[in-house]
């Protein structure tokens, strides 16, 4: 009889701790959403390197919410400790209202610990280190004017900030929402963790979704704002850039940005360090490690834990829908301002600059540059805009890091 009772108690305990009892409808809705995202990542291959871990993190946290629970200290009386089979010897005790409580520390969930890299702003700069190793700033050095386009595409961030303020978000939240317009995942995460960490899940998911949708969102805006003549401009070949210029570039940029805008220093500093690894040519091993192993490991941690912030109760809110809509507006505005400034430069240079490269000013490297190339080739198949678009594209990375620094400074 005792054996059967024990067995029944055990089954009851397992049932009570299972998801069947503990999960609410929001969790089930999020499980369904994460399965859709997994489908998009695997079957449609929308940014699978990020979307897959994000979707799986989302799935995990909604199946087992405690995987993100922080460490805690449980207070037990002697009686409760005895009942739970907890040995109080060696544990700190507190006396509250004449009753002695023993402290029983519990550990946090796996993803809680991995999430600290996001929360403390460690992962995004490390991703920037890897991006720096992979980025060739040559086209930007050859045509420094493209920095203007990288700046223009950031205007969307600040305009969306206004939209968010008027939709009822607080200043810090509006800043984090606006940064989606920079189309730069690590920057968006970095700024959000500093300004409005409770919105991280929705902002990260909006930012990465729009980055994956760059080839769908950008071309209609680009075509709408340009004439056929402007789109078919063939640009002059870029001048070759010497090795010395490439080596000096990261050093000069980091000095200037870190002095004038220290808030942007972690992101720009790591980006430029990575770039110096690459261009110096003397630390090949480190450069390879930063852009392959380190970046891949951080991507896994970042993806899974960002996904894990999207728990049902946290994500399924009206605010999330507002963020997704505002993010889209930010993104479209960034593209539009980039193209419009491209048009101004087209006029000022007497038709030498193809305005299509302006849309690449939103970061999203190299996808946005590829879109400029593609739209340009639709008008003239012999037109190669890619290298020209890489200039504004990498300028956009610097631009969004600077914009992030401004936001952190003004509303942080």
């Amino acid at each position: 009889m005792e054996i059967i009772n024990g067995f029944l108690d055990a089954v009851k305990g397992i049932y009570e701790s299972s998801g069947l009892v503990n999960l609410n409808w929001q969790n089930y809705a999020m499980i369904a959403i994460s399965c859709v995202l997994l489908y998009l990542a695997i079957k449609k291959q929308y940014e699978p390197l990020l979307l897959l871990p994000i979707a799986f993190g989302m799935l995990l946290v909604n199946l087992y919410p405690d995987i993100m629970s922080p460490p805690n200290v449980e207070l037990l009386t002697q009686q409760q400790a005895d009942a739970a089979g907890f040995n109080t010897a060696g544990h700190a005790a507190q006396v509250i209202n004449g009753v002695t409580y023993y402290e029983n520390p519990t550990y946090g969930g796996l993803l809680y610990y991995l999430y600290q890299g996001v929360k403390l702003g460690i992962y995004p700069p490390l991703i920037f280190l890897g991006i720096g190793c992979m980025t060739d700033f040559g086209p930007l050095i050859a045509n420094p004017k493209s920095l203007i386009l990288g700046a223009a595409a950031q205007i969307g961030i600040f305009v969306t900030f206004t939209g968010a303020i008027f939709l009822g978000f607080a200043e810090n939240e509006a800043g984090a929402i606006g940064i989606i317009g920079g189309a730069d995942g690590p920057t968006a995460i970095y700024v959000t963790t500093k300004l409005a960490p409770h919105l991280l899940g929705s902002i990260a998911i909006a930012a990465y979704s729009y980055m994956a949708l760059v080839p769908i969102i950008q071309p209609p805006i680009m075509k709408l704002l340009t004439t056929k003549k402007e789109r078919s401009v063939v640009m002059e070949q870029l001048r070759p850039v010497s090795k010395l210029e490439k080596i000096l570039f990261p050093i000069i940029v980091v000095i200037i940005i870190a002095i004038f805008l220290p808030d942007a220093a972690p992101l720009v500093g790591m980006l430029m360090l990575g770039n110096l690894f690459k261009e110096s040519g003397v630390v090949d091993r480190i450069a390879k490690a930063a852009q392959n192993e380190l970046m891949n490991i951080i991507t896994i941690f970042l993806g899974v834990t960002v996904g894990a912030t999207a728990s049902g109760t946290n994500f399924l809110k009206l605010d999330t829908i507002k963020i997704i809509v505002l993010g889209l507006i930010a993104f479209c505005m960034g593209t539009a301002f980039g193209v419009l400034f491209g048009k101004i430069m087209y006029k000022l240079t007497g038709g030498k600059i193809n305005p299509l490269i302006g849309s690449a000013g939103v970061s999203a490297v190299p996808m946005a540059a590829r879109v400029s190339q593609k739209v340009g080739q639709q008008e003239n198949p012999g037109n190669f805009l890619l290298m020209h678009a890489m200039g504004p594209n990498v300028a956009g990375v610097i631009g969004s890091a600077v914009a992030a620094g401004v936001l952190l400074n003004v509303v942080g």
Binding site: D66, L140, V159, G168, S242, N314, M387, A403, V410
Partner: protein, 143 residues
Amino acid sequence: MYLSAVSPVMNAVGDMTLSEKGISSAKVILTGFVVVFAVLVLLICIIKIYSAIVSRAQRSGVRVKKKKSPEKPLPAAAPAVAEEITPDGDPDHVPEEVVAVIAAAVAVMYGGREKVRIKSVKRSGAKRSAWANAGVLENTRPF
């Protein structure tokens, strides 16, 4: 639950009056616009200046080297290939061999299953030579 670990939910709605909202947004737009452009324009100037310095230094370096070790003049380069003069004097004329090669390439692309008719072959106004195009393709393929 773990929400408390992520962050306390901040005051989101309705704390600011309409004019406060306007002032706050104008402040951010103005600061953002001015600072982002100022920093990037500063970068443009600095890139231009140091590029000029570097290229001048390198050019003078090359000149000094040349003075030190005067090399024998290279044999005159092969004369540039003169523009093909076609029998009918038309600069846009495409030789028959080239048409045959293009037709073969098109046939291969279509897999040889469909019947393909080539209506015209025109010299494109491309500014790059075939070699330059090949170079561009080679460099842009990773993207």
